[in-house]
């Protein structure tokens, strides 16, 4: 019972519309009165109410009593005898109760009864669930063997049965096809794509396979991954200058598209530079270590910022891969989990070999070595062609002579990027080498050589710079007492994993990455469980444990632990195959349920943890943008590349300085690229993104809030991106949608919602069209103004009044709740 009490505490949910009156009912409903489970029923009470003073933190510990271990607790708990247990006596002491009055914490009668019952039944402790490696559980037998489509469904149906609930019927096919498209590629189906499925030309599995193979699958997964690792285009502190990192985003998209095994994905990001002869993409991946917020403010103290950066990396790596809040142990031992302050700094020590100095100056973008020049596949092949020509020109005589110069030159060029040598000196040397090479050629070949060489340079210069990691001799890492960077009295530490999770012989980031993903000799099973939970969240709207980034004692235990375990084991046993994981989830019966909930079901399980239905929620910020651009056919579907700048209110960056800057939106097709590519200015995230709850990416975000505010309404109504999309959709309606109102509205509904309008909807839009049209007839110049919104050209042969009037209809459609909701 208690588990769900905390589980459903409204404060923990960033959802805006919390249905508070139902909660009490939910508790009793979700919690069966069966056997006590320490991890589910008792530990959360002890953690929240007792561990602050009687927990893992030895410095805060009062009366030398710890209640998080059986040994610690035995002095105050007599198993089987609550009446003889000092703990119960203190809890029940009215004068001087535990927890003490000044802690502002108190135990409810139910909680006291549970503790008493637990002691009576033997006061058994269990290892904490999140630190116990997952094991495979048998599928529970269910009453209706026709319902399950795969093994997930056994666990779901069994759990529902325990609660006396039944699953919901399958959603209608239109909802299903839209759900699949939004979930798997973050784009709506075209009317044709929807019809392929509705008519049966394509089966459910066909659609799933097709979407998993789509290049947009990687973009959709990247939206989530980039939130986790706090990917952004700017440094985040003070001057918030742009930094070079966009190839990292391409790497993430590409990795999901190529289904790079998740363990490899982890290794390449944490330690790509430590692999033997890392390839281009592995180097790019190592940019993960450079994604943190940095400062280029004049007058910062390197030592202080080294400490800030170290703590930032610990927070991120532990939140992303371990679902842990090791960052809380920066100043003291963790209050609720067994992470010590030493664990914090030992984990930080893995990253002490990353270049963190010299972030000075206000260059835009910053020059933050080590960087590399990233060449697209196209540029690489162009380069190969040029280089072949160069070799031909040099021939077998000259080539061997110039080889060593070229090698030398390449090394020098690289040294500029990693920033280890004086720029001036290197540039001088480079000039000399160029000359040396040229002089090996006879006069009649010199011009040709120069020409080829300048082409070669041109290609290299058109590459994108991107920050990478390149290991250096590590800085000394010591425990900072109270987190104070000026205090050198703490012990020095070597890289190491949290002590209670074991130890590993290696001391490099590569060792850490392998430990994180090795189920045998590391915590791979635990990592798999963290991600299985997040996959579940992506396709069911909420986690099996609702704490997507905190599997610690103050997080929420899973509602269906066996299911979560099996998913975790499935993930790593299948070679960390993300696509297989996604396919497993979306081909379950549970996934295909309707998201329409009866008021009773909503009251019983408002956050849909038991999955007696599907979830419905507002689409993520990027997808809201993509959807509007897609239905108007404005969307540019290329993948990868530099960040793009959509229309943005003038003066929005006026608070930025060092240097001052003016935002200039892109005035070419980049204007209509997907949201995942939008320039991410940490200090001033695009107001549309912000209004739709995209995070600033200063810290790891495992779950975005889903708000519903007037600001968001203003964006959809008035942001030129959406007004332009509506105008271009109106053009489509007039050009492709037939000539009468009914046909046109039918076309519009199919384009936006994949369904026809009903008569009521027709009459609302008819009346809007007339009202708006009448005004435009009276003042046609305003129609001209509206249809001039945006860069996309307006076809000259359309009647401006008609186009403007239909733009109102299109704006209406783009603003519908149904349009921006995943059902």
């Amino acid at each position: 019972m208690t588990r769900h009490c905390t589980l459903l505490s409204p404060g923990l949910y960033p959802v805006e519309s919390v249905i508070v009156p139902c909660l009490l009912f939910v508790f009793t409903a979700l919690c069966s009165a069966g056997e006590l489970d320490f991890n589910r029923d008792i530990r959360p009470i002890l953690s929240d109410k007792c561990f602050f003073c009687h927990g893992p933190d030895s410095h805060e510990r009062k009366a030398d009593l710890r209640l998080d271990t059986p040994d610690g607790a035995k002095s105050v708990i007599t198993a089987g005898k609550p009446g003889e247990s000092e703990a119960m006596a203190r809890i029940l002491d009215k004068e001087d109760p535990m927890p003490p009055l000044d802690s502002h914490k108190s135990l409810t009668k139910k909680e006291i009864d549970l503790i008493s019952r637990w002691i009576k039944e033997g006061a058994e402790f269990e290892d904490y669930w999140a630190y116990v490696p997952p094991v495979k559980h048998d599928f529970p037998a269910v009453s209706d063997n026709d319902w399950p489509l795969n093994w997930i469904d056994h666990f779901i149906l069994y759990r529902l049965g325990q609660e006396g609930l039944s699953p919901s019927p399958e959603a209608d096919k239109t909802t299903i096809i839209r759900r699949l498209y939004f979930d798997l590629i973050g784009l709506p189906p075209t009317p044709q794509q929807a019809d392929d499925f509705l008519s049966g030309r394509k089966s459910y599995i066909n659609v799933v396979d097709e979407l998993l193979a789509s290049p947009h699958f990687g973009e959709r997964m990247a939206m989530y991954w980039l939130d986790l690792v706090r990917y952004a285009d700017t440094v985040g502190y003070h001057g918030d200058q742009d930094h070079n990192i966009s190839p990292y985003r391409d790497y993430v998209i590409r990795s999901f598209n190529r289904n790079l095994p998740f363990d490899q994905f982890t290794i390449e990001q944490l330690a790509g530079d430590l692999l033997e002869q890392p390839d281009k993409w592995q180097s790019v991946a190592s940019g993960y270590n450079r994604l943190l917020q940095t400062s280029h403010e004049g007058g910062i103290q390197a030592k202080e910022y080294n400490a800030i950066y170290a703590a930032d990396r610990v927070r991120n790596v532990s939140a992303v891969w371990m679902g842990a809040t090791v960052g809380c142990a920066q100043c003291h031992d963790h209050k609720y989990d067994p992470y010590t302050i030493k664990d914090h700094y030992s984990l930080a020590a893995y990253f002490a070999d990353i270049h963190d100095d010299g972030y000075n100056g206000n260059a835009l973008p910053t020059n933050r070595p080590p960087e590399m020049i990233f060449l697209s596949d196209q540029l690489e092949s162009d380069l190969a062609v040029i280089r072949a020509k160069m070799e031909d020109l040099a021939g077998t005589e000259i080539q061997p002579e110039i080889e060593k110069y070229i090698t030398n030159r390449t090394a020098l060029e690289k040294s500029l990027l990693v920033g280890k040598k004086s720029k001036k000196a290197v540039e001088k040397q480079l000039k000399e080498i160029e000359l040396e090479i040229e002089n090996r050629f006879p006069e009649n070949k010199k011009a040709a050589w120069r020409n080829l060489r300048s082409k070669e340079k041109q290609i290299l210069n058109s590459g994108r710079r991107t920050m990478i990691t390149s290991a250096e001799p590590p800085r000394t890492m010591r425990v900072l007492p109270r987190g104070n960077w000026q205090d050198d009295s703490g012990e020095t530490v070597r890289p190491g994993v949290p002590e209670f999770l074991g130890s590993i012989p290696g001391h490099t980031r590569l060792d850490l990455a392998r430990w994180l993903t090795d189920p045998e000799n590391g915590v791979g099973g635990l990592t798999a469980r963290v991600f299985a939970n997040r996959f579940w969240y992506l396709f069911f709207g909420t986690g099996i444990s609702s704490s997507l980034a905190d599997f610690g004692g103050q997080g929420q235990p899973p509602v269906n632990p066996e299911l979560l375990d099996n998913l975790a084991v499935f993930f790593y046993e299948n070679g960390w195959d993300s696509k297989a994981m996604v396919k497993l989830l979306v081909t379950s019966r549970a996934y295909r349920q309707s998201s329409i909930a009866s008021p009773e079901l909503l009251a019983r399980d408002p956050y849909n943890q038991l999955v007696a239905r599907q979830s419905r929620y507002r689409l993520p910020a990027e997808v809201i943008r993509d959807n509007a651009l897609a239905v108007s056919n404005l969307l540019i579907k290329e993948t990868g590349g530099t960040s793009v700048k959509p229309y943005q209110p003038a003066g929005y960056y006026r608070h930025l300085n060092f240097p001052k800057r003016q935002y200039k939106n892109h005035d070419d097709k980049r204007q209509w690229r997907r949201g995942v590519y939008v320039h991410w200015q940490r200090m001033f995230l695009h107001p549309m993104m912000k209004a739709m709850d995209a995070p600033s990416r200063e810290e790891c975000t495992a779950e975005r809030p889903r708000s519903n505010t007037p600001n968001a309404a203003l964006v959809l109504l008035n942001d030129p991106t959406f007004v332009e999309a509506a105008r271009v959709l109106a053009q489509r309606i007039l050009i492709e949608g037939g000539s009468n109102f009914d046909d046109r509205l039918e076309f519009a509904y199919q384009a936006v919602l994949n369904r026809p309008p009903d008569t009521g909807e027709k009459s609302v839009f008819q009346s809007l069209l007339e009202k708006t049209g009448n005004t435009y007839l009276k003042s046609p110049e305003t129609a001209d103004q509206l249809i001039a919104t945006g860069l996309s050209p307006t076809p000259p042969d359309l009647d401006p009044v008609e186009l403007a009037s239909w733009t109102a209809v299109a704006r209406g459609l783009i603003n519908l709740n149904e349009t921006i909701t995943r059902n």
């Binding site: 409204p10 404060g11 923990l12 805006e16 919390v18 508070v20 003070h238 918030d240 917020q293 403010e297 004049g298 007058g299 103290q301 809380c328 000026q486 704490s547 905190d550 610690g552 997080g555 009866s598 909503l602 003066g651 608070h655 300085n657 060092f658 940490r682 200090m683 001033f684 995230l685 107001p687 709850d693 600033s696 200063e698 810290e699 809030p705 708000s707 007037p710 600001n711 968001a712 309404a713 203003l714 964006v715 942001d719 007004v723 909807e761 009202k771 305003t782 129609a783 001209d784 103004q785 509206l786 249809i787 001039a788 919104t789 109102a808 603003n815 519908l816 709740n817 149904e818 909701t821």
Partner: protein
């Protein structure tokens, strides 16, 4: 706090359920027993709202309120090492440290005899209204983290700003405006960048986020209709959207839709109310003159006048930033500019609030994210570097005892030595005046009970109230 007391307090505040419900639609929480935070520990409040005048960049306490004769004596001499050894230093790292005497004169003002520098002749007139804290300390020596620390009580990103906390605890009093509004102005030395993080709601629900009102362009992003769309057409559109959403809801039974419809209706109302609010040209000339404000100039003076208008309309937390106080060099020149731009309008704001009977329940706070060193820095003419071990701020209105000087720094204005006030104590005092016990005002996040005042116990400055 016992619920009866709280109800009484709210009753006295004159809310009605209707306005509370409307306010919640705007996204500002409810002013009644809020579902968001039923446990807020309330007691009788002195202040209903806060106007925070942030002098971004860090004004020198040694040229405003903190007079130290010894500083003038040692002018040009080496700074005694006993003060600076092992202390965090920003741009003066590794340089020879030299004392810089006061760059102006100080005089006593008012019945209280408060010392105020010649840079602030208008502030001097309100010597008996303000309470100066001369013993402020903070923990962060660079601008961005120091602002974050001042606003959120921590340097970790993703935590709520105090304006969000206050709205979370008390709800909004306005039916068509956000509860937390931010206004900015520039003038002085190279303006400090300010991140929107400074008015973020962090882990609190997004509806408590500060909304920046702009003096140029749209006062709020996207609050204007698209070009070529009239108010009537926009009304018809919003109406159609609401009708269609309602119809759809009858099929899918989605409670979110009701909130969405309300959000659209409120958005539409903001489209008319906000531009009206921002148009100060409707103020009598005498009032414009009082502030020295010109409609549409985006100045600190105009922002002060807007702050009063926002206060009148029920905005709970009004945060002004004037970005120009980072005086590493040419301190005299830039003090002239910054004080010239801010001194009189600040006085006008207090005067105007007083005239309208608003100062009694409006807490006004003035200050930067830190102070400046007693040591010389010379980027251009004489200036001072960042300093966090002792600086001055003032509070007025909202139950604060005017004419008070509280706490002190040592003989050179380096370390706060008497009645030291940490940023968390400032937060606690502010919350206390709003009727909230800061040490018990929490929100659960990442398994912890988060507070604006942070982990360490914060104390209310009793001598000021």
């Amino acid at each position: 706090m016992n619920p009866a007391t709280r109800r009484t307090f709210l009753g006295q505040s004159g809310f009605s359920l209707g306005s509370a419900a409307l306010a919640s639609l705007l996204g500002n929480g409810t002013s009644f027993a809020s579902a968001d935070h039923p446990d807020t520990p309330y007691f009788a409040a002195k202040a209903k709202r806060v106007i925070f005048l942030c002098m971004a960049g860090g004004p020198s306490h040694l040229e405003t309120f903190d007079y130290k004769p010894k500083l003038n004596e040692l002018d040009g001499k080496p700074m005694p090492e006993s003060f600076t050894k092992g202390q965090p230093i920003a741009q003066l790292q590794g340089q020879e440290l030299q004392v810089l005497g006061h760059q102006t004169e100080f005089k006593k003002y008012g019945k209280s005899g408060l010392m105020v520098s010649d840079y602030l002749p208008w502030t001097a007139k309100m010597a008996d209204d303000i309470a100066v804290v001369k013993s402020m300390v903070t923990e962060q020596i660079n601008h961005d983290p120091a602002h974050t620390f001042m606003n959120t009580g921590t340097v970790i990103s993703g935590r709520p700003s105090m304006g969000s906390w206050v709205n979370y605890g008390l709800g909004s009093m306005s039916e068509d405006l956000p509860g937390f509004v931010v206004l900015t102005s520039v003038g002085g030395r190279n303006p400090q960048p300010i991140a929107s993080r400074q008015w973020s709601s962090g882990f609190l629900p997004g509806k408590y986020q500060g909304v920046e009102f702009n003096s140029a362009g749209d006062p709020v992003h996207y609050v204007s209709n698209p070009k070529g769309v009239s108010a009537g057409q926009q009304a018809a559109l919003v109406d159609a959207i609401s009708q269609l959403d309602r119809k759809r809801n009858s099929i899918v039974g989605n409670p979110e839709i009701d909130t969405r419809i309300a959000a659209y209706e409120m958005a539409f109302r903001m489209q008319t109310s906000v531009p009206g609010l921002m148009d100060i040209s409707e103020e009598p000339q005498a009032v414009l003159d009082l502030y020295g404000a010109k409609p549409g100039d985006g100045s600190y003076a105009s922002n002060c006048l807007l702050a009063r208008r926002l206060a009148e309309r029920g905005v709970r937390f009004i945060h002004l930033y004037h970005r120009g106080w980072d005086h590493h060099g040419d301190l005299k020149k830039y003090m002239d500019i910054c004080c010239g731009l801010t001194d009189r309008p600040t006085w006008a704001l207090l005067t105007d609030l007083k005239q309208r009977g608003l100062l009694d329940d409006t807490l006004v706070i003035w200050g930067g994210e830190f102070g400046r060193t007693p040591m010389f820095q010379g980027k251009g003419g004489a200036g001072r570097d960042h300093h966090i071990k002792g600086f001055s701020m003032w509070m007025a209105g909202g139950g604060i005892k005017g004419g008070t000087s509280y706490g002190e720094t040592d003989e050179l204005g380096y370390n706060a030595v008497g009645n030291v006030v940490h940023v968390r104590d400032l937060h606690a005092t502010m919350l206390h005046q709003l009727g909230i016990d800061g040490n018990r005002f929490t929100f659960p996040f990442q398994g912890l009970d988060m507070k604006l005042t942070g982990v360490e116990k914060a104390k209310v400055i009793k001598d000021l109230i």
